[in-house]
Symmetry: none
Subunit: 197 residues, 2 copies
């Protein structure tokens, strides 16, 4: 019956700076690790880094449809699902002040993304629309209006917005990665599989 009392009474679930620092450190380490791995490989082997048997290992583990993007077998998929790479690219573009999805740009992006999976211009368009709409769903401070530049002026140009402290958080907010993103260069590595075999 009373299963409600187990909930914490705190209003906002947050992370302390220390914890955040830890995460950052981890990421940094990973970044270095990846870098080292590539370097390492190149150092001791002239073989082009590629994949090949990768997916044949017991239970494909990652990046599947990227390779077989054109696979229209299970086309029953109505809803397009971006691959992580596509997502990364999109996010990247989004962050690059390209808050202005030029009609022309869309095509470019679509082209780019099509390399990593099936995609349509419409989807790209939708994505940007959604992205923008959802980030804007930020909760304005309670006190007074502060309707200064609620528009698409210079939204978070200096440094991502952070500290939504307060409580309740926002509605549909999702953005701000506050540190160098990897860019997912893995694709380049995987790409090599075209040369082998």
């Amino acid at each position: 019956m009373e299963q409600e009392s187990l909930n914490g009474t705190f209003d906002d679930r947050v992370m302390t700076e220390e914890q955040m620092e830890a995460l950052r450190k981890q990421i940094a380490i990973y970044a270095v690790l990846c870098d080292q791995l590539v370097f390492l490989h190149n150092s001791l082997s002239s073989v082009p880094l590629l994949s090949s048997g990768m997916n044949s290992m017991g239970g494909g583990y990652f990046d599947p449809m990227v390779a077989s993007s054109s696979a229209h077998g299970m086309s029953t998929r109505h809803r397009w699902t971006p691959t992580s790479m596509q997502l990364q690219i999109l996010e990247n573009i989004y962050k690059e002040g390209s808050g202005t999805p030029n009609p022309r740009r869309i095509k470019e992006i679509t082209m780019e993304l099509s390399e990593h999976g099936e995609i349509t211009e419409k989807s790209v368009y939708n994505w940007f629309q959604n992205r923008r709409a959802r980030s804007k769903r930020k909760q304005p401070q309670t006190t007074t209006i502060t309707s200064g530049q609620a528009d698409d002026a210079a939204v978070t140009t200096t440094d991502e917005r952070e500290s939504c402290g307060g409580d309740s958080g926002a509605f549909e907010s999702y953005e701000h990665i506050l540190f160098p993103s990897p860019d997912l260069g893995i694709e380049h590595l995987l790409n090599r599989d075209k040369f082998i075999d």
Copy 2:
């Protein structure tokens, strides 16, 4: 970037869940990336490029939860669970012709509900959304209902699990990431570059 706690909120320098999620995402990507790199290497080279930090792909993932290493029993990790009280209130409001979840109303409701347990506007919003969707799905079941829960519309009940294995499911799983040990024994890995030759 030094913004004092002029906000007057409870916490000063903390991270919201969303931000944390972002970090996790990044880490997850890196983790996968590293994994792939190692595997790739091993695939085409017999050189012992071990893999340590991360798990070896094959199904299992990493260790559960790491962020709260300090044993801060914060139960409200994800998925908010409405207390019976909250539920009652919500249902009540829902029935009151509130088929129109007023945006402004949400805040009020959230306020109200926060008195009975932790709640966020987002959750309230979600609740209404889900509620509506759910009812709609049950409606078309009219005619020959007969309380039959067996026939049902077979609306993708529990089978649409779909090809998570061979699909992009793996990558998309970073939702609730959990990375390798926080300590990162990558030194071993990095060290190798000195041993190998």
